[in-house]
């Protein structure tokens, strides 16, 4: 019952190649005399660019998701973390990551490559603790974490108070001094400025790509979006990734022009929230059998993509790039701090209402029929306030279903029960049970 033409993404192979190289580069960094660091997907990775072009990272969240994707491997990692004494209800990415260190097994083969330093950020209670413990488990790796919990961004705060931006920017300046000291390398400001601009370019372009999913039919479905948004989580400041997003933007624009759909029989549109249960992405295929396309989520749009919420219009639009590139280290730090403090996925850490407003805007402007919230036991950070989001969305007239699961611990996901629940929900949206 195809309503729309569909075709695979042309840049798919390139995406796979880039991701493979990323993990391989981290593994082989020392062979080339390079440096390895570990940190959060939200780390202000541009700051490490000034150390040289041979500096490679691993970011814990996408790594944890890759582990979770391989269920037997993940089971070994989770058990190792629990045996060490870590509680089973801690962030499941973090437990997969610690388990990987404890078993000395790299999810992509071989021994787990030990980092030379850890550089991360902190807004969820687990961010800095994750690497504090990873550093200890790796035998004493130096750690620097930047606190970005400096308050919400306008319009959720009355204004962007200068002391808040300065707090984050000054920690970056301190991080630079610290990196010089622990690596013994001279910091190159030109490389930093380039990385800073690449960060802004990639996070801005990603938001523009997501905007295109307002089209009916949607050119991208969320399962594919997961494979694409990942570059922002791997390393936002990576020039190759920023270039790739620009290429992808062109391709998606072309799909919209030609009416190419992600799901040929798109009849209803849903959006989700928080990370999916990575070992069970089949639930997205299940949605498609009903003719439902998941157009994305605040999570996939705003985890790394940069947007601004317009209170008056109830609009959610890509944040425009700054007019000029930064010229000095200090300027770049202030610019990056201000840019990242507006990250949509930071705002709910201060109040669920902020997230409800952005979700409501997405639901309306991306023409969503129903909202599926994942009550994700694996991530206390992104689940913060989720029950209030549900109430707020219902109050605004949306249809909402919830299911419980875990992004990275398969023991906490009941696939059958969840798909049954989805069936009832999809039926309530007026869709016909597939024959």
């Amino acid at each position: 019952m195809a309503k729309y033409p569909t075709e695979p993404l042309k840049c798919w192979t390139k995406a796979k190649e880039l991701r493979k190289n990323f993990y391989r580069n981290f593994d082989q960094a020392h062979e080339k005399g390079g440096i390895r660091w570990m940190g959060s997907a939200w780390a202000l990775d541009a700051v490490t660019c000034g150390l040289g072009r041979d500096v490679y990272c691993i970011t814990g969240e996408p790594y944890g998701a890759s582990c979770a994707f391989n269920r037997p491997l993940s089971a070994r990692f989770l058990t190792a973390a629990e045996n060490y004494g870590f509680s089973r209800d801690l962030c499941s990415y973090m437990r997969n990551y610690w388990g990987s260190i404890l078993t000395d097994e790299y999810a992509f083969g071989g021994k787990f490559p030990k980092a030379d330093f850890a550089f991360t950020q902190h807004i969820c209670c687990s961010h800095a603790k994750w690497y504090q413990n990873a550093c200890e488990l790796e035998g004493g790796v130096p750690l620097f974490a930047i606190d970005v919990g400096a308050g919400p961004y306008p319009p959720f705060a009355a204004e962007m108070y200068e002391h808040r931006v300065r707090y984050v920017a000054e920690q970056m300046l301190d991080a630079i001094d610290w990196m010089e000291e622990i690596t013994g390398r001279k910091y190159d400001d030109e490389l930093f400025l380039e990385g800073c601009w690449n960060d802004i370019r990639s996070t801005h372009t990603w938001a523009k790509i997501c905007m295109l999913n307002r089209a009916v039919p949607a050119p991208l479905d969320e399962k594919s979006i997961y494979s694409l948004y990942v570059f922002g989580t791997l390393q936002k400041s990576n020039g190759e990734f920023a270039d790739f997003y620009e290429e992808l933007l062109e391709e998606v624009e072309d799909r919209v022009r030609r009416g190419i759909a992600a799901v040929a029989n798109e009849q209803a549109r849903v959006m989700t929230d928080t990370q999916p249960p990575w070992g069970f992405l089949g639930i997205y295929r299940h949605l498609e059998t009903w003719g439902a396309v998941s157009i994305g989520s605040l999570y996939t749009f705003g985890l790394e993509g940069m947007w601004l919420y317009d209170e008056e219009e109830g609009e959610f639009l890509p944040r425009p790039m700054p007019g000029d590139k930064p010229k000095t280290r200090e300027e770049a730090c202030m610019m990056l701090a201000d840019w990242h403090l507006s990250k949509p996925e930071y705002q709910h850490f201060y109040h669920p209402e902020y997230k409800t407003k952005m979700m409501d805007a997405i639901a309306r402007h991306w023409r969503v029929d129903g909202i599926i919230l994942h009550y994700n036991r694996g991530c206390e950070g992104l689940s913060t306030g989720i029950a209030e989001n549900r109430l707020g969305l219902l109050e605004r007239g949306h249809k909402v279903m919830t299911y419980e699961g875990n992004m990275g611990d398969e023991r906490e996901f009941d696939e059958k029960a969840v798909t049954n629940r989805m069936d009832i929900f999809l039926e309530s949206l007026g869709l016909k049970r597939p024959g």
Binding site: D174, H351, Y375
Partner: protein, 382 residues
Amino acid sequence: MIERFREWYENRHEYARSYKERTGRKVVGFFCTYSPEEIFYAFDVLPVRILGSHEVQDVTEPHLFGMFCPFCRDVLAQGLKGRYEYLDGISIGQSCLHLRQAYTSWDIHRNPGWSHYLPMPSHVQSKRAVSFLVGEYRLLIERLEELTGRRIDDDDLRRGIDIMNRVRRVMKEIYELRKDDNPPITGEEAMYMTCAQFFTDAREFLPVAEEVKRELTTRKLDRDPGKRIMLVGSENDDVEYIRMIETLGERESVGCTVVIEEHCTTTRYFWDEVELGDRDPLTAIAERYVLRTPCPSKDWPVRTRLDRILRFAKDWRADGAIVLQQKFCDPHEADIPFVRKHLQDNGIPTYFLEFDVTVPAGPFAIRTEAFLETLEAEADLF
């Protein structure tokens, strides 16, 4: 006199209502010990901490996903049930994600007309934290001006500092007495004291605490202190649990006394004073909150808590430590293997208990007894 603490703890709402009537002052509820009470006192606003009631409750389900800690659920339930209807405002100093949800849900559904979220920094080991926090205190002061219709100056802040420092000091002096071979105050009584301070005006608490301190110098408790126990971990005001383990000796072969704790209801809350000197009072207050014993969510990159915990254990001669954690309390969960290792490596046996404030204390007491027996067995060996 010591009974007064228990009365205040149990009748916290009656106290606050009559306080408002007596004084005409405003009362603001705070959710975490990272709220700068000194600033509230400078405005003559009474800050009261919101703690749970340890009852099984069913009102938070639609508001809080099940993976968040029972303490924050219990705290939210107090608001949803209207127990703090006398508040003029609510405020939180940013701490863990769990508790801030209790605050924000309260803000959505039971806002008393004034609320303020204070982004207390988490990178307290950064040299940038104090100036950031001073900026935040300035915003808080503007909001308190709106609430009270008055302005304050440095002298008011110095007064607020003095009020808080004096109660902290007297509680520390009372804690010193717990170092005795037979402490004149039980752990249960000490917990009533530290929590009563959350609910009362420090200026009314202080003379009572001073009097208690005098009484304790001659008080002899007619009980065998048994094993000397330290409690370490998440929020805990479970006086019933402490009572049960401290009375084990009356029923079983081995008993104990809680001689020291590291909780945000006890020493993490009050141990550190504001070092004012001749400095700007706002900076001095900010420094105090930045440098105090941190909640584990703020204790990085160096895990500074460990040494203080060990020092407490040694100075108060603990025979063993019970590491307590509210179920789902992520900040503590991330630290616990390291806290236990540090204590054990330094000769302090530990026992781990996962708590749920809304679950009866009985089974926890039985498990504690088993731990005490192992301490007894070790003592027999040598």
